[in-house]
Subunit: 261 residues, 3 copies
């Protein structure tokens, strides 16, 4: 396993690109994390929009900079709307990112995510259990928690990247980002991030935003992982999970000012 | 364009009326801003309730003090439930407010909002792009962002007010509130308010609450705009978007104590 | 009316048990409180998961430690999914908790909650108006607010407990927790908790989590009520409703460290 550690400069560059390009991110995400996801994107200078009716979602993913599909609170009507959005995104060259929340043990989302792989996502972001389940190795974790480490899932992530054509980010204590050939690594973060709902889901939205940036996509996505870990580390310092949330958004907000280097 | 600037005393009076009358606001709003909307109303002494099933929504809008319709995450079933609520509100003299989020480019919400105009909303609150699109001038903005200033949209707002019978608040860096004859103006606020999701949607909920207050409705709605801008200005001072959110709710909470004057 | 006051040690013991057992709580709750509910459970060491499709909900409640049903934003499809989850929970001996939000005046939720009583919930948590309406005494309160005190609803709570087999927590300024024979009492809290959306709904989620703990269930549920009141009291001190929210989560987070005694 060879993985290159991302430099602080790469993380700052991604934050600057987000502020310069203000990507309009069409978020089709779960009920629990919508507000936090929107606020994370706004803090980074991106522009979130949640559009969920099938007809409107297809219209909107045609004009958005990128699309996020997160299956956390999937229902049959939402699956149909997501599929319509993905097909429109592909037709209009809008990059799209898949977050396969809790895939494995639950049927509707597992079948749906495997179907979506055929529509060739631009990026996939999940924890170790989710990536291994999506790749076909395991039955998934315990709800949204992972029971495996990201390092253990890296071979599955690399195979998934090669098979699907997506850049795959498998995240945990350390994040690995791979296109199946090259692998980058992002370190940092804090265990407190697992005591706040939505940090992983919001990262997927930032990954989606980065898919709309110019430059090396693998490095940009790794930069997204690194900047979220860095802001999390800063925000966790001496705090509980409640005060972490505003501190995390504040830390993201100043990320493009070069203070992060 | 003649518009009278609201005095600080009018803003404080609205805050005091909200605490005295504790209007019960039936919020049919989008998924992203529900919690923030509820907390804004609670901080101001109003009482929010989200009831979304068509049958229950019709029952509830009959007994609520006012109704809010926000189409941010519209779906077909929600549109049906909203229509049932509006018809019941009209039948029971419950004032109702329309927030035409991102109307213009997206079909379902654009058709739905134009239909709703025939049911004569009490108030309409939107940004410049939304008001111009609703009035028929433009194809709308970029998602929920506006690409026009409120001042540029004032003529459209005045026409919309005259045609629909609603009081129209077109909000941005400066807010204009008009019944088609008189126009009031609210200043203040902070650019940080655009880096937090839901400040506009929550304002629409406060406008809805103010439609249930005694006195001059145009002045009450302008007071709602002014108090949100004032609280935003106070909360933004030296803060990032994360710490802005609790500070904003805290600032609203003390607004009726005369500190705002 | 005889009710024994809970000791601080019982409250701390429940916090410690939650951290030790990390119950996986399947939350089927309303749109407004999902994020706050998840963050409250995470702060206490429990593991929340929101799964809402009927098929997936039945799969998940079979493997979860406990299930929460909150009818705040009920719709017909959600009622069907909740029923499927409850039936699966009963089949798999997963304890489940009912929060009958605003039951009484609204038809769909009132009929649904009365039907659910036949499926024998493990616990029920509501305010005075809700418990009295569910037991059949009154037409319910004003939206989610209560117009009665918990003490006035205690006889109804006791009858409801005996008839349904559930432990019933009727909460307000003082909380009463009863199995129809024994009644415990939890004091504390702060009026500011009523100015923040979701404190009651989040308590129901903690009650659900406590149904999965070993030991005396009545005492564990009373401990849940007591620890939420204690954290609320600490967090409210000198704060407005906005800064209350992070302080409350922080206070819950340190509850198992013995600082609460």
């Amino acid at each position: 396993m060879q993985a290159d550690l991302l430099s602080p400069a790469q993380r700052t560059r991604v934050a600057q690109l987000l502020h310069q390009h203000t990507p309009l991110v069409h978020c089709m995400t779960n009920d629990v994390v919508q507000t936090f996801t929107a606020n994370v994107l706004l803090a980074l200078g991106a522009s979130p929009a949640m559009v969920i009716d099938a007809g409107e979602a297809a219209q909107f993913s045609a004009i958005a900079s990128s699309l996020l599909i997160n299956v956390g609170t999937l229902t049959q009507p939402r699956a149909q709307a997501m599929r319509a959005a993905v097909e429109s995104a592909n037709h209009n060259n809008t990059p799209w990112t898949l977050d396969p929340v809790a895939v494995g043990a639950l049927s509707l989302r597992s079948d749906f995510c495997r179907d979506l792989l055929l529509l060739r996502p631009t990026a996939i972001r999940g924890n170790a259990s989710e990536i291994m389940a999506l790749e076909g190795q395991s039955a998934g974790g315990r709800g949204v928690d992972t029971t495996d480490t990201a390092a253990a899932a890296l071979p599955a992530a690399q195979r998934l990247a090669r098979e699907s054509g997506a850049i795959v980010a498998v995240t945990g204590e350390v994040d690995y980002i791979t296109d199946g050939q090259r692998t980058l690594m992002a370190q940092g973060g804090d265990p407190l991030m697992t005591r706040v709902v939505g940090t992983g889901c919001a990262l997927s939205a930032v990954v989606a935003a980065c898919c709309a940036l110019p430059g090396d996509r693998l490095e940009n996505i790794a930069g997204a992982c690194a900047l979220m870990k860095y802001a999390g580390q800063q925000a966790a310092h001496g705090r509980g999970p409640g005060s972490f949330i505003p501190a995390f958004l504040d830390a993201l907000y100043v990320m493009n000012e070069g203070k992060a280097v």
